[in-house]
């Protein structure tokens, strides 16, 4: 059993959605004891699932300053009271970015994005031209430095041709640059303090990893029931597959159950007009 504790149903789940498949797969990518800087939304869901299943000692850090937090329900915002109430300690936001992220204490930066391109560059800034945008997105937030100061980066994003583009309109957060070489060209001192970048992209269809030479994202594992054609159609560039892509293991019944309980708990919690005051 993956979490080592007795009594859990570790058999394969009978039914699960593509999103559940993505979340469970993402959670499995976090090994126990990892220090993970967590983005809100899908990454937060996956990271907490990992903590509640196979990786109880995963250290979750949110950019609001909450260190080693263990929320019982998923936060709606990056700074929900739940994160502070269940944290080992809460530091100022400057300290969080300076001492903990830039200081090199983060193993995995776990990010979502609006757009991702062939070289794993992330865009959360805008669609169109910067001065006259078609769609203005929220912006970088913590991502630009999470992407470079973490030892490695996992990206979670639903697969669609709108999101997986040949080249992002705007590089908010560095993957491997427009030519795939940006991390190779850094000043040696900068390189010493810069992580490996996106090593894993988890979608609802597959897993992608950067090619070791070119850093182009290639499909390394295909989720159950998904065809190559689906992936090709949902990717805005001529996507490549490794020679023998793996078949992503299905989620266990236990994982799906824990995830659904977490989401149900969360929904009940956030539905209340007035939650209880944080202590």
């Amino acid at each position: 059993m993956s979490d080592g504790s007795p009594g859990h149903d570790n058999t394969t789940a009978h039914d699960y959605t593509a999103t559940e498949m993505m979340t469970v797969t993402a959670s499995r990518a976090l090994t126990n004891g990892t220090t993970c800087f967590v983005g809100i939304g899908l990454p937060s869901e996956a990271a907490n699932l990992a903590r509640l299943t196979h990786a109880p000692d995963t250290v979750l850090i949110y950019e609001s300053g909450t260190l080693q937090t263990r929320p019982d329900v998923l936060p709606l915002s990056i700074g929900d009271g739940e994160l502070c109430d269940t944290a080992l300690s809460t530091v100022s936001v400057p300290e969080m970015f300076r001492y903990w992220l830039q200081g090199g204490r983060v193993d995995v930066g776990f990010l979502g994005t609006a757009q991702i391109d062939r070289y794993a560059n992330l865009n959360t800034t805008l669609i169109g031209d910067y001065r006259e945008p078609k769609v203005r997105l929220p912006g970088g937030g913590g991502a630009p430095e999470i992407a470079t100061n973490s030892r490695e980066v996992f990206v979670m994003i639903k697969h669609s041709a709108r999101a997986f583009v040949e080249e992002v309109d705007f590089i908010t957060s560095l993957g491997f640059g427009r030519d795939g070489r940006a991390r190779d060209d850094l000043h040696p001192e900068t390189a010493r303090h810069t992580g490996r970048g996106p090593t894993l992209v988890i979608t609802d269809l597959c897993l992608m990893r950067p090619d070791p030479d070119t850093h182009e994202l290639v499909v390394t594992s295909i989720h159950p029931g998904v065809t190559r054609e689906q992936i090709i159609e949902a990717t805005g560039w001529s996507v490549r597959f490794v020679n023998a892509p793996e078949a992503t293991p299905e989620p266990s019944a236990h994982e799906v159950q824990v995830l659904r309980e977490l989401k149900a708990r969360t929904e009940r919690h956030h539905a209340g007009h007035h939650e209880e005051a944080s202590a």
Binding site: I40, G41, E63, S64, G65, T66, P75, L76, S77, I78, G79, G81, L83, C84, T90, S92, V93, P94, M96, F97, R98, Q102, T125, Y130, P133, K134, V135, R136, L137, P138, G139, G140, G141, G142, A143, P144, E145, T148, N149, I171, T172, S173, L174, A182, R183, L186, H187, E189, T190, T194, H270, A271, G272, H273, H274, E275, E276, A277, S278, A279
Partner: protein, 274 residues
């Protein structure tokens, strides 16, 4: 030295047309009551600074208070876009809004540098990002020891910072607890500061290393119970996530927004708006 003033008086005295203004709060302790008072007093042409402009800045921008926004993440947390901000950026409604955009790491450092009286903040940031191409305030220095090129941005030095906090003692010292964000830095970086508090108490009962702002680092304190709602105050009340979710529909339409502001902010007395 902190003066206890009514919220109306604190805003009237310390927030002026054309000011560089920061209403900070990292999800927690967002000074909604004070922001609404600024809207009611019809301030114009403000440069708004904040790491995470959310509903409050959406409202201030939508009501035409701002001509410029300096920020690092402008969304409705966990919900989606800020439609009034988007309308201003995409369609220049109600007016053109100049934006100056950073990352959180840089903005956090800019607050720290402002508090520290330095002209610039230095960080290992923006590597490979396009942000330096669109923001002339992102420059670089060379480390005289290692030769490494590091990002540099100007310190944040607003004319006035407005924050919300848990409590003040009768001498005007303020305790901030929980997700403290950049509250202390934003106050210390500003020329003037207004702090709204849930209550005034005889003693802060703070532990030795708690986040405390001395009275002599604050310009004015206004008592505003519930002044952070629909965001929250640790130890007092929780975040109204339902209000954040409902905001999406309200702000999507210009008229719906205007009417909502009329009903919920403009005609409401100081301190009781939500």
């Amino acid at each position: 030295m902190a003066e206890f003033l009514s919220l109306h008086e604190a805003i009237a005295r310390h927030v002026h047309d054309g000011d560089i203004v920061a209403l900070e709060g990292f999800t927690h302790l967002i000074p909604f009551a004070a922001g609404h008072e600024i809207i009611r007093q019809k301030r114009q042409n403000l440069t708004l600074i904040r790491m995470t402009p959310d509903l409050l800045y959406d409202q201030m921008i939508g009501m035409g208070c701002a001509s410029k926004l300096i920020f690092s993440w402008g969304g409705n947390p966990g919900v989606g876009s800020l439609h009034r901000l988007r309308d201003a950026v995409e369609k220049h409604y109600p007016a053109k809004l100049e934006i100056l955009e950073h990352s959180h790491a840089a903005m956090a450092c800019a607050w720290e540098a402002g508090a520290a009286g330095l002209p610039l903040a230095v960080l290992r940031g923006y590597l490979g990002s396009d942000l330096p191409r669109v923001n002339q305030d992102i420059r670089h220095i060379d480390c005289p020891f290692t030769g490494e090129r590091l990002a540099a941005i100007p310190a944040n030095r607003p004319d006035v910072t407005v924050v919300h906090a848990q409590k003040a003692d009768r001498a005007g010292n303020v305790l901030i607890e929980g997700i403290i964000g950049v509250q202390k830095e934003a106050v210390l970086a500003a020329r003037r500061s207004v702090v709204t508090v849930e209550e005034v108490v005889d003693s802060l009962e703070a532990t030795p290393n708690a986040c405390v702002l001395p009275a002599w680092a604050i310009s004015a304190i206004a008592v505003a119970p519930g002044g952070a709602a629909p965001s929250y105050t640790h130890g007092y009340y929780a975040r109204r996530n339902d209000v954040y979710k409902q905001w999406d529909a309200i702000a999507r339409d210009r008229d719906t927004f205007r009417q909502w502001m009329e009903d919920n902010v403009m005609t409401v007395e100081e301190g009781v708006s939500a």
